[in-house]
Subunit: 358 residues, 4 copies
Amino acid sequence: MSSMTGKNIKISVFGQSHSQGIGIVIDGLPAGFEIDTDSLLSFMARRAPGQSKLTTTRTEADIPEIISGIADNKTCGAPLCAVIRNTNTRSKDYSNLKDCPRPSHADYAASVRYKGFNDIAGGGHFSGRLTAPLCFAGGVCIQILKSMNIEVKAHLYSVHGVFDTPFDPVNITDVNIGEKAFPVIDDEAGEKMQEEILKAKRSADSVGGIIECAVTGIEAGFGSPMFDGVENIIAKNIFGVPAVKGIEFGNGFKCASLFGSENNDPYTVRDGKIITETNNSGGITGGITTGMPIVFRVAMKPTPSIGQKQKSVSISEKCNQELIIHGRHDPCVAVRAVPAIEAVTAISILDIISEDYR
Amino acid sequence: MSSMTGKNIKISVFGQSHSQGIGIVIDGLPAGFEIDTDSLLSFMARRAPGQSKLTTTRTEADIPEIISGIADNKTCGAPLCAVIRNTNTRSKDYSNLKDCPRPSHADYAASVRYKGFNDIAGGGHFSGRLTAPLCFAGGVCIQILKSMNIEVKAHLYSVHGVFDTPFDPVNITDVNIGEKAFPVIDDEAGEKMQEEILKAKRSADSVGGIIECAVTGIEAGFGSPMFDGVENIIAKNIFGVPAVKGIEFGNGFKCASLFGSENNDPYTVRDGKIITETNNSGGITGGITTGMPIVFRVAMKPTPSIGQKQKSVSISEKCNQELIIHGRHDPCVAVRAVPAIEAVTAISILDIISEDYR
Amino acid sequence: MSSMTGKNIKISVFGQSHSQGIGIVIDGLPAGFEIDTDSLLSFMARRAPGQSKLTTTRTEADIPEIISGIADNKTCGAPLCAVIRNTNTRSKDYSNLKDCPRPSHADYAASVRYKGFNDIAGGGHFSGRLTAPLCFAGGVCIQILKSMNIEVKAHLYSVHGVFDTPFDPVNITDVNIGEKAFPVIDDEAGEKMQEEILKAKRSADSVGGIIECAVTGIEAGFGSPMFDGVENIIAKNIFGVPAVKGIEFGNGFKCASLFGSENNDPYTVRDGKIITETNNSGGITGGITTGMPIVFRVAMKPTPSIGQKQKSVSISEKCNQELIIHGRHDPCVAVRAVPAIEAVTAISILDIISEDYR
Amino acid sequence: MSSMTGKNIKISVFGQSHSQGIGIVIDGLPAGFEIDTDSLLSFMARRAPGQSKLTTTRTEADIPEIISGIADNKTCGAPLCAVIRNTNTRSKDYSNLKDCPRPSHADYAASVRYKGFNDIAGGGHFSGRLTAPLCFAGGVCIQILKSMNIEVKAHLYSVHGVFDTPFDPVNITDVNIGEKAFPVIDDEAGEKMQEEILKAKRSADSVGGIIECAVTGIEAGFGSPMFDGVENIIAKNIFGVPAVKGIEFGNGFKCASLFGSENNDPYTVRDGKIITETNNSGGITGGITTGMPIVFRVAMKPTPSIGQKQKSVSISEKCNQELIIHGRHDPCVAVRAVPAIEAVTAISILDIISEDYR
């Protein structure tokens, strides 16, 4: 396994849902940056559970303790490590899952991979809870990027067939989605999404979603062709967020039904700066930023933990058996994943721009 | 930049469209494998240009010369390097593009990134021609995988709104798509796709497409959570193929409109083996293979080089100007990208299964 | 910076001498291994300070808290993280060093590197204290290696011109050096070394040393040519231990005064196994193990912190000034570095043998 | 295996002594640099064989063909690849070695590692001949460094007990060692070294040596603590040169016999710049450059190929047998390794300073 990633900004994620704690090490941050703790905690609070009837009833304070990396209130160049304690855990909810894998969870694959020694409680290292340390690291990176006038923002673009207004990829205005209780641009669409989620919850079911994310303020010329491109790096890292099943940049899959003449972004000069009139490329060509906003969408599957009776097997006895999952789960993981996608994007972007492009 | 990727099987791609040659180094291959040259050359021929009216009229033999890595006709553990000469180049077609970037090509981004020193001829290192060495390396990996009963196959799933029959993700039968002149499952759909492509060509335009790829015969338990998962690695590498703008595994973006009860894959036992009845996960949960086929789709944008007059700018003078692109181009890059997607997938899968999962 | 290393077994070290804590993440350990905690703590105790008059008077319990990576008392495949709290810190001892760098410490170089924001207290992230988490991770790896009959042991080979008996590189017998209070083979030589150290201490000075380390029980065929050889990996990691200034394998620098006929290791067959009669290669040829013990020596500089008045400068005022270092320091870092060298070696060896050499 | 290394400047080395060719890919070079071909060829000529009675009689022109990475005579940001053809090969000299490993060569270890499929001819991928592509890449890096006023130079410091004058680590003057036929500072010492080498050659034997290398003009503040330090990176790469068995920085192993008060480098201000009066640290503390010259020494073993009868075994029959090595070999590999050490150092230094240390 490797729960480490990054080239210039490296992270190392650790923890299981029910271990002593979860946390992250970030290596390579610039020295001398003063983290705004209040802002960081409110960013992290956006993904914290227990905030509404839309999310799991497991509540945890999720206050990160900074173990290292700070001196005189500023980053000191040494690796920044934060640990978040796991407190509200109820491992007995999971005792039966060791042999009876939950459909579309990692249980079975992990059991083969780790010869049955994987930690099943709460999903172990595969738990969505691991997005908390990602949000810590991403929250720090967001602040550093902001000091360079680069902003990362995401919204819930779709839930169970209901769609939010997409970002205007050319002019992304600051709609402060992050400050909303429900992270959408169009609040009416948001209402309908919430209805869909609650409907699913009432029938002991769950729903999937799409998150759209944008990075503004990034200059042209960052990234590289082939395997170190902006798309490669973001994609590699975003698939580290549990439940992600797809990613597309700019027009993405829609490209398949377009003519080149429709999809190409014409160049023009505005205020002495070269821009494109449209941004179907999502701000990236040849793996390199064009100076237009980076725009991409992330597909998230419905929470695999549902309350309905499901078909499963006994791993040890190789026979079929039925499964009812207990425990507390979000009916739509995409909701709380919005800040996690922002976080991973910020980590990726800071990694990319910390390359020496002399 | 980095045109290197991989952990256990590492590749290093080099070359520009109009340099002396293009090529690849593959490091980490098992020793003692005898490459079937005929089979490799016919695999590479699938992406070679000049085969039909659907592709560019640039013709090149594209015969790779193996520089190293072989002894007594078998891989010897040393890095395998192959060089393909560039012969049929017409660089004067590109002389005007240095200052006038082609819309949705890498020209402008690369010009900023490399301070104007990037090789513009034929797209330089950003050219789709770089998929030739990828096909060399991938062709070798495909043979090695086949010796382990793992197969990689892809088809053109969609072109400009016309759709092929998708793979049945549970039972992918050997339809020998690779041997067809036009790589689709449903030949009637293939006819319509070709009509769309020719229609675009006639109007000096291009069209996008979607490629679907599957890996069969791979056991459960390969891959890792978070950043070294099967999805992360495949995604990172697939975005190395020019023109790719999206990737989705299993149900992918369709997840967003499904209930968990619809998307979850129920486990069952068949012939003493644990399988899933459906394969909406695309063979991967938690980054780890489930033992079901790996299935994913790749979105490819329309060829940005089109014959129509387009809006561009002068980089040096920061003013608008019109552009007409000359040169020879595929009206639909997705067609010849099918073997490239297979190649990069095979390289990725061999890298993944060459991990020590003790 | 990167305080991360490793390919298959990856570590991420964090912490400063006076931060909340120090610690390490280990990613890639085999699942299902039960750590012997008592044995681990006694291994870690070998490097802990405050044990004798030879070491610093700073005393810390140095009990690691395992945050993650364990389930049902066994490694579960998830990253193993341990945190050690810093308790006995006296940062005021260091207040004057921010502007007045200690000779041959990292102070000045780090001040330039981190623009003055580096944590100076106790040496910050450059402190020898960071060997504690290395010993945690190495202690775990030593146990895993032992279960495969691979042993790592080191002794203090030289201190200030006094030499211990070297390992017999062909037959390294288990002399249990690790259980000795002073880690030498020849206790008489050890007495003399201790006298040298105390003599230095009395004159507010320090002395350097050489540590010899051996790995037994490792089969032939591990490692790779060029940059992933056993020597490359061990060297890269050993230079991560503070104060290391050199490393040599087998005959090392002595090679320069030998004939090939003296230095070559003749092959012979013993008990049906191919071995070498001598082991001047230190168990490695072409970067690959020969099946003979791996033997190398590590040069460690004298503790740069000495009590004598020294010449330094004011960084801010660019003028000369005298420096007297307060604080508590080992008069010979090599003594407590012995387990740290074993630890880093064990981490490196486990990384190397966790490669898939099919 | 991995014959790839580097983070910002990455190289990928390929080829065997008797394959079609050998070569290297360099990825990450700054764009817009014009390579001085004459200067590069004369640098490469310094390691080429057949120049004197001190070296192997195998002669090869060793002219690199640049396959890619150049446009309009300047680096264009794309990977630079060069191939050198192997022409003067006599593989029959090696036919008996497949089963009868040469003492202290990689033959036996490689045979186990690669299950007998390794290329034995001329040492295969383990051959000293692989330093030719390293010299190509290093020669380019040396030119780029020179344009930043950073210089790399090495001399033969010791051969079979005869010592050259060491570099003055504080003031390394340009003695143009590289232009000498025999690369020493003190030509009288050089004469004696040559006598030693010829004496060894006459008795069908070989001798080892030590190379001292220095990097001047490098500012303070490059490098990082722990595993990405200047020492770690140089050491990791230098052990990639065949026959290297040790490396030491600054006082290195001599540290062990010194007091801290002798080994510490006092700071002082000269011409408004902070320097050290001595440079026992070899220009590096805490893994980071101090602004003083980087100085290190590399131990090289005697050429293992000697003309005398030696003890070996039959790998297949597991019995003892005698071996006489034919073929053409240098009696002292250290001589021609001098430019190779410079080359690998230059690659490492350019990699280090290409980090973004904002």
